[in-house]
């Protein structure tokens, strides 16, 4: 099996979907000849033609709305927003339309579209290129929100998202686009949405994260292992709808939980997990649920970016704190 980076896995999944189903159409800014600013769509226009891999005018409301319209007629558009910082003009179409079309029409129409966007910080990008707003989408009923954390996840989850009969916001942690390579079989196998993935088993504390921060989270798990602390690591993968069972099961075993995300702390998606732990798992909690998260500040320009990003040190400190609690 070839070794792929996460972005290459995205590319392979898109190519597989285009080859497998004529209803799949890719659209977005610079997705054509240029192959996307991160090369997610590189080679696809050449292979599948400009009707199936379509450069759009520079207009995000349009991109999302066109995808809704195409999906309403049974196509399976995969739309790219170039950076999450430019996704906000698409929120109206996603919230008022994509997520509701099936419900509004009692199933007469549906909206099998995917909206892809790279997100997150840590790559010394310009202003407005580093934010994490997954919580905004995770609050919208009728959507799925999916975030891969590795090449294999990216391939399987993206194909599952494209096949899914409902709209999916698929957020790609760009910091790890090229961080690691992994063997990925390009056979069209999908990975289940609606489930969290346990990346590492452990018994003392449950670490819950998604996207790029799983790398720091796994490093932290390694580090504390040296001190004899056994950390279980859960990759949420699909934030909405959330598979809370896997998390609750883990915490009922470990009694302790640290949630790690890059997004600003307040009303970030970590809050939902913490709230559900307190609601459904209070009796098993041996310590407060800690969130290691971005500050409630504007993401700084890159010279100070590292001070914003949650680090391994913070995760290990949080692990120690919950273990020493009470």
């Amino acid at each position: 099996m070839p070794e792929l980076t996460l972005i290459e896995a995205v590319n392979k999944a898109l190519a597989f979907a285009l080859a497998a189903d004529d209803n799949v159409v890719i659209l977005g800014e610079d997705v054509g000849v240029n192959g996307g600013v991160f090369r997610a769509t590189v080679g696809l226009q050449e292979r599948f033609g400009a009707e199936r891999v379509l450069d759009t005018p520079l207009a995000e409301t349009l991109i999302a709305g066109v995808a809704v319209g195409m999906a309403s007629q049974g196509l399976r558009p995969v739309a790219e927003i170039q950076f999450m910082g430019f996704i906000y003009s698409a929120v109206d179409q996603i919230l008022n339309h994509a997520s509701r079309l099936r419900n509004r029409t009692r199933g007469r129409l549906s909206c099998p579209m995917v909206l892809r966007a790279p997100y997150g910080g840590g790559i010394h990008a310009p202003e407005h290129h580093s934010e994490s707003y997954e919580a905004m989408f995770a609050h919208i009923p009728g959507l799925r929100v999916v975030i891969p954390s590795s090449p294999a996840q990216a391939y399987g989850l993206l194909l599952a998202s494209i096949n899914d009969p409902d709209p999916v916001v698929f957020l790609e942690p760009k910091r790890i686009y090229r961080l690691v390579k992994q063997e990925v079989g390009d056979n069209g196998d999908t990975l289940p949405l609606d489930t969290c993935y346990t990346l590492r088993e452990g018994s003392d504390v449950t670490l819950v994260s998604w996207g790029a921060m799983l790398h720091e989270t796994q490093q932290a798990a390694e580090q504390v292992a040296n001190d004899g602390i056994s950390a279980e690591v859960i990759d949420v993968a699909t934030l909405k709808p959330l598979d809370m069972h896997t998390i609750l099961d883990s915490v009922s075993k470990t009694g302790r939980c640290v949630i790690v995300h890059e997004a600003a702390r307040t009303a970030g998606f970590g809050a939902e997990i913490a709230a559900q732990l307190s609601e459904h798992g209070l009796l098993s909690l041996l310590a407060p649920v800690k969130r290691v998260a971005g500050y409630d500040t504007v993401m700084p320009l890159y010279r100070l970016e590292e001070y914003y990003m949650p680090g391994v040190d913070q995760i290990t400190a949080a692990v120690r704190e919950v273990l020493e609690f009470g």
């Binding site: 005018p57 709305g65 066109v66 319209g69 179409q93 509004r104 409902d166 709808p241």
Partner: protein
């Protein structure tokens, strides 16, 4: 009329020029003012258009009455704009797709949406968007202009599949101020989409007049920014709307790309039943515009053709009233959907994460019944 004068002093090179044209065939008294197109010579066709307009108006009146008596939610009337809506509905083919805003009942009814469905929608029931008729039409859309990018997507799907179909989207004068409209128009031009834009310029966006909305002399000229033709028609003259809209549809169907048609009408009603237009517009304006209203105009033309009279008018009214009454009965007799239906159509399959919420609702419903 010759083109307005150009500035001859200006020595700069002219690199592009544009004209906006206006079409009217029948004036407010039903008199012919142009070389009539074929449809104007076909009494049967005209009578069926007239019937659809009357039905639209009767539906409107009864819906407002229902709202006033507490049997319907907020309702947006078509009053005065029936010619545009009916012409669009009559010209479109079944395989075309309508992407409407919220007052084009005349168009929707001709396409097969039922009055009962429309009443259910405004009566607060999602089943009113599950049209038995045009299964691929988009439902009524409340967030202004947000349907327009979707219409571009629908048209792109048609083009992608190389189908001889056309998407039609309608919206009001106010909607032309939203970026959604413009982004979609620009894309329709860039992609040469089979898409016709119909602006119902009824002069008002709630209380904001079209002069406050934009400094443009016409709304048709907004198409110039998107690189395709725009034109004006007298929206009270159904023959003009029919004719020009037909031409635009044919052009789009034959790969000629988009057209924007600005139909000039007047909103003779309040914005919706939740509005009171007397707060912001004068009686004179309103009564002057009653002179132009489209039903009277076509009726007078038909009378002039000697194919219409008082007796036929009365029969028609009665049959329309009957039809509307039947729809109202069906609407009022529709029991509310099961509350659990709010979970049923959320996703193709309800995710496990939501089953406990659905159960919670069922439990509450049971508790209610018992208490």
């Amino acid at each position: 009329m010759p083109a307005p004068k150009r500035n001859k002093e200006d020595k700069r090179k002219t690199v592009a020029s544009f004209d906006i044209r206006y079409t009217r065939y029948i004036d407010k008294d039903g008199q012919v003012v142009g070389v009539l197109p074929d449809v104007a010579k076909d009494p049967d066709a005209l009578i069926s258009l007239y019937r659809a307009m009357v039905l639209n108006r009767v539906f409107d009146q009864k819906a407002i009455a229902l709202q006033r008596t507490g049997n319907l939610g907020t309702y947006a009337s078509s009053l005065g704009q029936e010619a545009v809506f009916v012409a669009v509905g009559a010209v479109m083919k079944q395989q075309d797709v309508l992407v409407p805003y919220y007052r084009e009942y005349g168009a929707q009814l001709l396409r097969g949406v039922t009055m009962t469905e429309l009443l259910l929608y405004w009566g607060g029931d999602e089943r009113g968007m599950d049209y038995a008729g045009p299964r691929e039409d988009l439902p009524i859309c409340v967030p202004i202009a947000s349907q327009i990018p979707q219409a571009a997507g629908v048209a792109l799907a048609m083009k992608y599949r190389r189908e001889p179909r056309v998407a039609v989207t309608m919206f009001g004068d106010g909607a032309t101020s939203k970026g959604d409209f413009y982004e979609s128009a620009n894309a329709a031009g860039a992609w040469n989409l089979p898409l016709v834009f119909v602006v119902n310029n009824n002069q008002w966006a709630i209380s904001v007049s079209v002069a406050e909305q934009t400094h443009c002399k016409t709304l048709a000229q907004k198409a110039i920014a998107a690189g395709f033709p725009g034109e004006q028609v007298d929206g009270n003259d159904i023959i003009a709307v029919f004719d020009r809209f037909s031409a635009a549809m044919e052009k789009a169907r034959n790969g000629g790309g988009p057209t924007l048609i600005e139909a000039i009408t007047y909103r003779l009603s309040d914005h919706t039943t939740a509005d009171d237009a007397s707060r912001y517009r004068g009686d004179e304006d309103l009564s002057a515009n009653w002179e132009n209203e489209p039903l009277k105009r076509l009726r007078q033309y038909l009378i002039g053709m000697e194919c219409w009279d008082q007796r036929r008018e009365e029969q028609l009214r009665k049959s329309c009233e009957l039809e509307v009454e039947q729809a109202i009965h069906a609407y009022l007799d529709t029991p509310p959907a099961a509350p659990e239906s709010m979970f049923e159509y959320l996703y193709a399959n309800l995710p496990a994460a939501l089953t406990s919420q659905r159960e919670d609702l069922s439990r509450r419903l049971k508790d209610r019944c018992q208490s």
